[in-house]
Symmetry: C2
């Protein structure tokens, strides 16, 4: 029998407890040993639960119990999760977490401690909820040099954008609906400003390229500036707008990484990822493109990924170094001057001057949508280096310029 402690009895923590209890037999069959939940750490009491006796409010009860071999961290946030996880690993307990903030900010350090102590630090659930991504990327694609990883990493923003695209709902109404349905939090900043997606692309990039990339190094733009007009213009060009996190290995070994609202061609599979679903695309030098799709959040999907990590831990209590990366002092992040098409939306009081400068700079061949009344002109550039395109765009006689990238 292997004893487990769960820290945090919120959405994910309670889901983990539920699966470990409900699927006890199925899990024991897989692990060839029983998994027993010995403690649950939470400041609240849950007197209505069958397993109310397992609750403790004292972290030291878990830390000092040598019978506890695996600790699940499902508290979220950096404090006190970081301190607790460090202490658990240092005292020889394996840790499984779904906490993307913790992994994105402190991953390299925690992996290092785990390796030194010959225990596991596993975090499959931190990216893509229940979708298997991290392990397949490292294990199954092991023969590949990964060149790019990108995707729809945040279900809340995908839900909001989807409502704007499908139901012509404005941003505020869609956000309100997401909140009413429990897909967005009261304070939605972490989702709509792109921080959640940023943490996930950091974890994916760190794992794919072997060096820790920190959230503060990533150019992150949220979706708060996306309007129905952008959605409509994109649609006219046969694109949809998605919040895309993307990390690309450059030829010089550096990594170009960003999170931003991006126009995705309707011909590309990611454009069909709707609602709260997530999808991650991995490019390998042999396998070409592989996409993983599923529910990126939610109690049971996420908890099932945590439980799979617990099972892996239980079968291999000693450290398994495959899910790891190193810390680095040198900056490996570099903005690429990529070859791309840009979406451009221009507003000017003097529309004919704008129109004239557009034709002068971009010629007559590019399809542009013109709204004379609003003094607005929107178009998609041809493919060229971003620096060149931006230079050309900046010569246009416009009062307001909005630029979005394409995929």
């Amino acid at each position: 029998m292997i004893n487990v402690a769960i820290m945090g009895h919120g959405v994910v923590g309670s889901g983990v407890a539920e699966i470990l209890i409900r699927s006890k037999e199925h899990i024991a069959k897989g692990v060839k040993e029983d998994i027993n939940v010995k403690y649950i750490l939470d400041l609240r009491s849950f007197d209505e639960l069958d397993y109310k006796d397992k609750f403790t409010t004292d972290f030291n009860t878990i830390l000092n119990d040598d019978e506890v071999k695996i600790v699940v961290e499902a508290m979220g946030g950096i404090n006190p999760a970081y301190d607790f996880v460090k202490k658990c690993l240092s005292s020889g307990k394996s840790v499984v977490t779904s906490n993307k903030e913790l992994v994105a900010e402190k991953g390299a350090e925690l992996i290092k401690i785990a390796n030194e102590k010959n225990v596991n630090f596993l975090f499959e659930a931190s990216v893509g909820g229940g979708i298997p991504i991290l392990r397949p990327m490292v294990q199954c694609l092991a023969a590949n040099k990964i060149t790019e990883v990108k995707g729809i990493l945040n279900g809340t923003t995908n839900y909001i954008l989807n409502k704007m695209i499908m139901d012509n709902m404005d941003f505020d109404t869609a956000l309100k609906l997401a909140q009413d349905n429990g897909y967005a939090e009261k304070n939605p900043a972490a989702d709509i400003e792109g921080h959640d997606a940023c943490r996930k692309i950091c974890i994916l990039a760190s794992l794919a390229f072997g060096k820790h990339i920190y959230p503060k190094q990533v150019e992150t733009v949220g979706i708060t500036d996306i309007t129905l007009a952008d959605i409509d213009y994109a649609n006219a060009f046969n694109y949809v707008i998605k919040l895309i996190g993307k990390a690309k290995l450059l030829e010089n070994g550096k990594v170009s990484i960003n999170v931003r609202p991006t126009l995705v061609s309707r011909d590309y599979l990611l454009s069909d990822v709707n609602g709260v679903f997530n999808a991650v695309s991995v490019m390998g030098d042999s396998v070409d493109e592989v996409i993983f799709y599923g529910r990126g959040a939610g109690k049971l999907p996420t908890a099932s990924a945590v439980v799979a990590d617990i099972m892996d831990c239980a079968k291999h209590l000693e450290t398994r170094k495959y899910l790891s990366w190193e810390d680095t002092d040198e900056s490996i992040v570099e903005k690429e001057d990529e070859e791309t098409k840009l979406y451009v939306r221009l507003t000017a009081k003097d529309f004919s001057l704008l129109e004239e400068s557009f034709i002068k700079t971009f010629g007559n061949d590019i399809f542009a949508i013109k709204n004379k009344e609003k003094g607005e002109l929107a178009f998609l550039t041809q493919k060229d280096f971003e620096s060149k395109l931006t230079h050309k765009i900046n010569t246009l006689k416009a009062d307001k310029i909005k630029i979005l990238h394409t995929l």
Copy 2:
């Protein structure tokens, strides 16, 4: 250093050799040991190759060399692959294969020998080419009870159907084009008659549900009877036709399994899987639906999955039982009377009699496409049990009845 032998230097075998040589350093870093190709078994000679000295025509050279710890079987077919693989496993060598026919027909037996001899028998490349599917299904979704697995498992037929759907090309022309592009073999029977997809759904179902399901137990229908008219009717109902392999765990513990051309709603992600790409959907009781997408065939994608298996083997030379299932004497396959919609296409000399019987049986509310000139009527039933629907359809006054399932 770990010595490997490759049996067969065709598409996959040569790809494996290429990756092992080209990515030697990357692989050694992952495995923490060098992987050396000691022999390649092929009856042909390849004098133009750098590594021509590695070739042998004698299987016993490989079998009797105790330095060879891992053997790659990339010959295809049952004979002599089955005999060779059995001998390798029995003599304590691990085997990695991409041979779906071998795994689908002999998997349980070969897994049993591998377990007894404490070596590995790995076959990730046998389903979905380079797409990680088997390992993620077993490892990452370990906390889930898998209830259904289905998907587009054959790139050739998907390419042909896609050409019919997108370019209005008839079946024969599309097949010819697939052959010209190297996507279909000269004798295309294994693909277009569904046998290849059948082997793959057998492997997926055996792994998901733990008991060997043999190809002969699977109701298999190919795409040779699909015409442009079917494609057009499906389109009018907002569906596309795909060759779908599907295995579902029934409440009584039996498995309903089949391969057949199926109408897939345009609202469902699998409808957007185009060209030679594959996609596999796995339903778990906690994770809900997860989809894996990528290139289901091709030299380097498939070879990269074989090499990942070699690397896994090299890191764990002793047996790892997670990719396994048991043989069974009892039949676990049972046809489900599922609740579904059916696509029905009827032809009658007496069209008004047909029309009358249709309205009498199905009422006036169902949208039907009527082609009086051709004496043809096509419609999509409402959702009901298949037996009930079939019974109703058989009362219609038609000379010819064509029924396709929907997803």
